[in-house]
C-alpha cells in the first residue's frame, strides 16, 4: 500500500467515526486480536474493543491470549501460509525480529497513525525511541523492585536499588526473575554505574563479571520467579521481603487487593509494549482500527484500567482516575516525573545481540 492511499484510509476512518450510520451497511468483519490475557487484555477490551465495536457494529473483535508465544505463532502461521491473526500485541524486541523476517507489516507512522489533537504528527507525539520499523507502541510498562512494608521497621524502609543489594541493613530474602534481563542492569546500577552507561559496561566481559560479582553478594538470599503472577504472591505470603515484578501487577495487588506493598521507583526498567500487524485476512479493517485505537484519547483511556503509562506524550495530561477504584492513576504511572527520576530504558538491541550468551551464563550462575 502506498503512502497517499494510506493517508486516505486514515481520513476515511476518521470520517467514518463521525458518520457512524454510514458504515452500518458494511459486511461483517471479525478481527482476531492477540494479547497477553488477564487484566491487560481486559484493559484493552474496555478501553478499545468495546467502544470501537459499538461505533462500528459490523466489526466483531475476538480476543486471543497468545502474546506470550506470539513470535512462534507468527512464524508458524506465515510458514503455513495461513495467517489468522489480524493484530498482535508484542514486545519491541520480538517485533523487530518478526520485522526482519518479513512476517509483519512495516509501519509508516505519520500516515497510518492519528496525529495528536494539536496536530503534532504521530512520529513526534509518541515518546522518543518507542516507535519501531513495524511496531506501534501503546504503553510504557516498567519492571520494578517492590517490598512488603510489614517486613521492615517503619523507620528503616528501603528506598533504592542499592538497598535491595544491601543484605546487612535490609535483611530478608529477595525474589528475582530467572533470567538475566533487568537483573544485570540493576547489579551494575547498584554498583554505581550511571543508567546511561549500563549497556556500554555490559558489552565488555569485565562489565559482565562485575554484574555477576554484585549479584553474588545477595545470592544466598535469592529466590527465583518465572511467571509474572508469582512475584506478588511471594511478597503477599512474606516468603520474600523484596521482589522484582511488573508495575501493573504490583499495582493490582497493592491497590485492588490491599496488600502492604511499596514500589521502589529508583532504577525502574522501562520498556514499551504495543501492536504489530501481520499480513492477516482483514488488513483494511485492522488499519482503520489501529488508527483509532492508538489515538491520544484511547491511549489515555487504557490507563483508567491498568497502571501502565500511555506511549504518547499528548495522552499524559488526559490520564485520570481508575474506572472502578476511583483513585488518581497519575501517581501510579511509570512515566510520572515523580517516578521517572532514574529510569533504565531497556536496550533491546543489546539483548538481541548478547542475550543468547548471557542467558547461558545466567543459567549456569543460578545452578551453581
Amino acid at each position: 500500500m502506498n503512502k497517499p492511499m494510506l493517508k486516505m484510509l486514515g481520513v476515511t476512518s476518521a470520517v467514518s467515526l463521525l458518520a457512524v450510520s454510514a458504515v452500518q451497511a458494511q459486511d461483517p468483519v471479525r478481527l482476531t486480536i492477540v494479547s497477553w490475557g488477564g487484566a491487560y487484555t481486559q484493559s484493552q477490551v474496555r478501553a478499545y474493543h468495546e467502544p470501537y465495536a459499538e461505533a462500528n457494529p459490523h466489526i466483531t473483535i475476538v480476543n486471543d491470549d497468545g502474546s506470550a508465544n506470539a513470535l512462534a505463532g507468527l512464524r508458524a502461521q506465515s510458514q503455513a501460509g495461513n495467517v489468522t491473526w489480524d493484530l498482535v500485541d508484542m514486545l519491541p524486541s520480538d517485533a523487530q525480529l518478526a520485522c526482519d523476517e518479513g512476517i509483519i507489516m512495516p509501519i509508516d507512522h505519520d500516515a497510518m497513525l492519528a496525529p495528536a489533537p494539536d496536530g503534532t504528527p504521530a512520529s513526534q507525539d509518541f515518546l522518543p525511541g518507542s516507535l519501531g520499523e513495524c511496531f506501534i507502541p501503546q504503553i510504557v510498562y516498567s519492571t520494578v523492585v517492590t517490598f512488603n512494608t510489614e517486613m521492615f521497621p517503619e523507620d528503616n524502609q528501603p528506598s533504592s536499588i542499592a538497598d535491595f543489594f544491601n543484605v546487612d541493613d535490609f535483611p530478608g530474602r529477595r525474589a528475582i526473575q530467572n533470567r538475566p534481563g533487568g537483573n544485570l542492569e540493576w547489579a551494575l546500577f547498584a554498583d554505581g554505574v550511571h543508567p546511561d552507561d549500563i549497556y556500554d559496561v555490559l558489552e565488555t566481559p569485565e562489565g559482565v563479571d562485575r554484574a555477576f560479582a554484585k549479584l553474588d553478594t545477595i545470592k544466598d538470599n535469592l529466590v527465583f520467579w518465572t511467571e509474572g503472577a508469582q512475584s506478588p504472591q511471594l511478597l503477599a505470603d512474606q516468603e520474600v521481603a523484596f521482589s522484582t515484578g511488573y508495575n501493573g501487577r504490583i499495582f493490582d495487588a497493592a491497590e485492588v487487593e490491599g496488600q502492604p506493598f511499596a514500589i521502589i521507583w529508583d532504577g525502574q526498567i522501562v520498556e514499551w509494549d504495543g501492536w504489530v500487524i501481520p499480513y492477516g485476512p482483514n488488513q483494511e479493517a485492522v488499519l482503520e482500527y489501529v488508527y483509532w485505537a492508538t489515538d491520544t484519547q484511547r491511549l489515555a483511556d487504557q490507563a483508567k484500567f491498568i497502571s501502565y503509562g500511555p506511549a504518547r506524550a499528548s495522552s499524559a495530561p488526559l490520564v485520570g482516575e481508575h474506572a472502578d477504584l476511583g483513585i488518581d492513576m497519575n501517581s501510579h504511572m511509570p512515566t510520572n516525573p515523580d517516578n521517572y527520576f532514574s529510569p533504565i530504558v531497556l536496550d533491546n538491541d543489546f539483548w538481541t545481540d548478547y542475550g543468547d550468551e548471557l542467558r547461558e551464563r545466567f543459567a549456569n550462575w543460578m545452578l551453581r
Binding site: 506470550a68 508465544n69 513470535l71 512462534a72 525480529l97 518478526a98 520485522c99 526482519d100 523476517e101 518479513g102 512476517i103 530467572n178 533470567r179 535469592l222 529466590v223 527465583f224 518465572t226 505470603d237 512474606q238 516468603e239 538491541d349 538481541t352 545481540d353 548478547y354 542475550g355 543468547d356 550468551e357 542467558r359 547461558e360 551464563r361 543459567a363 549456569n364 550462575w365 543460578m366 545452578l367
Partner: protein, 428 residues
Amino acid sequence: MTQGDAATDPSMTDHMRDGQMVTADGTPLKASLKRAERRRKIIALLFVAPLLVFLMISFIIPIGQMMFRSVDNPQITSTLPRTLEAMEAWDGQGLPDEPVYAALAADLTIAQENRTVGQLAVRLNYEISAARGALTRTARQVSNMEAPYKEKFLDAHRLWGNPEIFQIIKREGRPLTASYYVSALDRTYDADGNIVLQNENRRIYVDLYIRTLLMSLGITFLTLLLGFPISFLMSSLPMRYANLLMIFVLLPFWTSLLVRTTAWIVLLQQQGVINELLVWAGFISSDNRLGMIHNMTGTIIAMTHILLPFMVLPLYSVMKTIPPSYVRAARSLGANPWVAFWRVYVPQTLPGIGAGAVLVFIISIGYYITPALVGGQSGQMISNLIAYHMQTSLNWGLAAALGTILLVGVLVLYWVYNKLVGADIKLG
C-alpha cells in the same frame, strides 16, 4: 510342505495337479493359503489402522521432525551462497579479502529484499554474540554501499573485523549441522574447528542431565518406599476397605496438577503450615524456618506425591494375584516372618515393582510443570530448559537436540533395564 514332498507322495494324487496341491475348486493350495493369509493380515491391519494413523500423525512424524530440526541448518547455505563460494579460496586465517566482502554485500542485498536476513542473523547469533546486530544493521545499509566493500563493512560493524564470524560462516555453511548437539553437551568449537569444553561459566546442560537422572531415580525410590506398604495393605484387606484406600490413593490423581502443586506451596513455604507448626511447637526458631520449597527438596516432595499412584497401581494389581498360601507354606516349613517375606513374597512382586519403577522413572525424567513451580533454581530439570528454548528463546534447534539426547538416553536406559529385569516387566 514343500512342492518336492508333495510330488513324491502318491497318496495325495486326488488333490494334485501338475505336481501342486489344489483346493476343491481347483486353485493351487499354496495360492489359496496365501490369499487367506493376506486377507487376515489386511483385516488385522484394518483393526489397528485408526490407531496406527493416529500414532503416525500425532507421535512418529512430530518426533521425526523434531529430531530432524536438531541438525537442520538451511539458513546460511540458502542466504549466503555467493559468500560461501567466494570463501572457498580463503585459508581460514586472518580476515578474508575483498571478493568475500563483495559477495557478502551481494548476498545481503538480496536477503534484505527477501527479508531473509532476520533468520540468518538469529542463526549466527547462536554461534557468536552480536552477530544479529552486525547482520541486520549492515543489511539495512548495504544497498547504499559501493566497492571496495571491505572498508565499508569494517565501518558498519566491528564484528566484520573479527575472523571468527567468517570461520563460523564457513564451518556452518552446510545444510546439516552438529552445532546444536555440540552446545547441548556443553561443548564449543575453538578457532581451529576442534570441539572443546565450553567456558566453565557457561556450562549448564550436562550437569542438568545428571541432576535430572539422579532426581528421577530418587523419586522412583521414594515412591517405591511409600507405595509398597500401602499396596501390600490394600491387597490383604477385604474388598470394601481396599476400595476405600484405593480412593484415597486415586483422589489426588483426579485433582488438577496445578491445584496439587499449589497446595504443596501452601504447606511447605517458609510462612506455610508445616513451618508454622514447627515454630509453634518449639522445634525450630522463627528465624530458622526450613526451606522446603523453591529448591530441590520441594521438587522431590511434590513429584513423589504426584507420581505415587503410578507406583501403587501396578504394585497392587500384581500383589492382588499372589496367593497368601505361599507365605503360609514358607512359614509352616520353618521360615521366620522376615525370610518368608523377603525370599517368597517380594520376588513375586518384582513384575509390579519393575513396571511401577519404569513408569515413575520415565514420567519424572520428562517432568516440567512441577519443577517450574516449586523447583526454585536447584530443583530445575532438563525439560524446563527444553521448554525455555521452545517457548522463550525460540532456539528450536537446541531444544530439539536436548530433547533428542533425552529421548535416546531414556531408550538406552530402558534397554539396559529390560536386560536386567527381563521380560518380567508388566505394564499396568
